[in-house]
Symmetry: C2
Subunit: 392 residues, 2 copies
């Protein structure tokens, strides 16, 4: 089944839907190039993937990276980046960029914050300086950065939280969503050339079915270019996360991209793809690399991408099926002269990487990051191959 | 003037001697390739140049790298590296490698050490474990590493030190030099194929003319493949360093490579080249990079490589002549959108690198290191060009 939709200027193609699951093969056309889905976005929060250059990312097969409006607004400032010719030029990344709006960072990083209808008042952790981040300002920041895909500013709430609080934040997110859409139109003639503020709505509602359904209904009534499921992986047990996609995805339009924010482990990504999700980002591959945890394909013959729907959110049961993780700092690797992996780091031994970590050589984190991102990006290649081949 | 000497199996060619100074164009042929001199060796103490891969080093124009026998003996162990196929394979560096013998590290790093005629007893700083590093062991370590150029194990002494102490250490260095040469022959048939322990003697003697002359005389009477001037930059004022080359170089054989250990700033390298030195290593470009200090060519037309012999050891007078240093962490660079340099990092602005340092992004140190090593390696290219053109 080949369908083609034009969503404003964001061209989205649904190339195939699986017969075995809700998995989709998709293609996004952005001002900075194509992105084949399902896809994973390496995290370049402050305008750089930790330890890597943009050239290396390209070499790993990254199609798109994720940066953060909150962080770049604080440093070096979105106006400076605008003056530099936009974030692409500033960070030397020629491909598409998505920015998160800052809603999650206001929730997770700010010590003092006061959420009002107007926006989120917070103090910068280092300087103590006060800021008011509004939906309008968040959209403006993302316009100044010149990113390909922008996110609406949402009111994120952690777990646990009372249903009443989650409801208030969800409703506010819906009201802010309208303000983001209005701000998007401001001073931005949506001609083909100026197509620089493709906007995604973010569905909230915590672990409560009726709130998730209401949020999805509110946001899909608005003309967003794509939809994200937010407010997951904010502290709730993994099994509480499981039903959220079952509730929300059926309400999402088929002709727009779907993004599950902040997840996850490989088996969680596979599971979410089978639920119909197209877009992912996660700190896991890069953050765990810096602590020496490596993601590796299982050796021997190619294993099917699991889990089944019953297993998908219990990673401990699943490890070792199609992949394994190892901690290279473990002393057992001191004398292991086998290659780090069979793809991009076969010229280095595990013993060498162990030594680099043991002696605090900065190259250690870089090689581990190269391994993990290569694994995650190859995982997405395999997912797309398996959807195409009717295996997923 | 083209001369060609075969020094054991180390082929050394003196391609040209300048008419204007004692500067020399040289070529070393090692088991892992050619090295054109004068040359600079980036420092890969523990088997990695900090933040960089071997591929990047190659791309910067590095011909040879320097590693350290003391550090690699302690971790991961020279026997393990031997098992891994040698240091070249272990660190994925296909070109020539020189190792320092560990004499300087015993002097500079060990908390508790006892120097006897037998060798240097020291405790490893982290574990407290005791070791006895002898001339024989140092040579064996370097054989196990399989390096192209090895250094004799010397008794290094700091500044200030009494002349008596410096004399004792210098005399011991001469006795240890003989033991290194004897150890080099042990179990190592010097066939063409097994040519893996080309050995350099290290001239000591501190800031005392008679001791330096004696050391040079002692060592040049032995059949080393090359000679190094050691025990400089160990705390003495720069002007005390100046005469050492004037004393020592005239005593060195013309047909062997000459290595000034651990120096220096660009103008010091130029000055030493003019004194007839062929080989350099220094932590300055990599260490200062990690603190945000960048070495940059002066803008505008190509400036002659200075200093004159009067100026050469007073760096502050000379800065800004053919190069400048800047501290990229200075707030003035926050909004400086000009490129980092005009060679290998023109795609990044100074403002971007400032931002990476300001936000503790690890890519900051990597880009600064790429800048500084490129500068140092290009400096050596310019030095060789200038000797060839009769300008130096």
């Amino acid at each position: 089944m080949f369908l083609c939709f034009y969503v404003f200027m964001l061209m989205f193609k649904l190339l195939k839907t699986s017969n075995k699951s809700k998995a989709r093969l998709t293609r996004l056309t952005t001002p900075h190039g194509l992105v084949d889905g399902p896809f994973f976005m390496p995290i370049a929060t402050k305008g750089a993937v930790k330890n890597l250059t943009a050239d290396e990312l390209k070499g790993l097969g990254a199609q798109i990276v994720l940066a953060n409006a909150y962080h770049l607004f604080l440093a070096p400032g979105s106006k400076l980046i605008k003056k530099a010719g936009g974030l692409h030029q500033y960070m030397n990344w020629p491909g598409p960029i998505l920015t998160d709006s800052g809603g999650f960072q206001v929730f997770s990083l700010s010590k003092i914050r006061k959420i009002s209808e107007k926006g989120a008042e917070f103090s910068e952790p280092s300087s103590g300086r006060k800021y008011l981040l509004t939906p309008e300002l968040s959209v403006q920041i993302q316009k100044d950065l010149g990113v390909d895909l922008a996110m609406a500013f949402d009111d994120v709430i952690g777990y646990p939280a009372s249903k009443e609080k989650v409801k208030l934040a969800m409703e506010r997110t819906s009201r802010w969503a309208k303000r983001c859409l209005a701000a998007r139109e401001q001073g931005n003639k949506r001609t083909k050339e100026q197509n620089k503020s493709i906007l995604f709505g973010i569905i909230q509602g915590g672990v409560y079915k009726d709130l998730r359904l209401k949020s999805a209904k509110d946001l899909t009534a608005l003309k967003f270019d794509g939809y994200a499921v937010g407010g997951v992986a904010v502290g709730e047990p993994r099994e509480k996360m499981k039903p959220i996609l079952d509730w929300v995805v059926p309400l999402l339009p088929e002709n727009k991209p779907r993004y599950l924010m902040g997840l996850g482990r490989p088996e969680e990504i596979v599971a979410a793809v089978k639920e119909g999700i197209d877009m992912f980002d996660c700190v896991i591959p890069t953050r765990e690399a810096r602590h020496g945890r490596l993601y590796l394909w299982s050796s021997g013959k190619r294993q099917p991408l699991l889990p089944s729907s019953e297993q998908r959110l219990r990673p401990n049961q699943l490890k070792g099926k199609f992949y394994q993780t190892i901690n290279i700092t473990n002393s057992r690797y001191k004398t292991d002269l086998s290659p780090i992996n069979q793809t991009n780091l076969k010229q280095y031994s595990k013993a060498y990487l162990h030594h680099l970590f043991a002696t605090n050589e900065p190259l250690s984190m870089r090689l581990a990051t190269l391994n993990n991102l290569k694994f995650y990006l190859d995982l997405m290649v395999r997912i797309r191959e398996d959807i195409k081949a009717g295996l997923l």
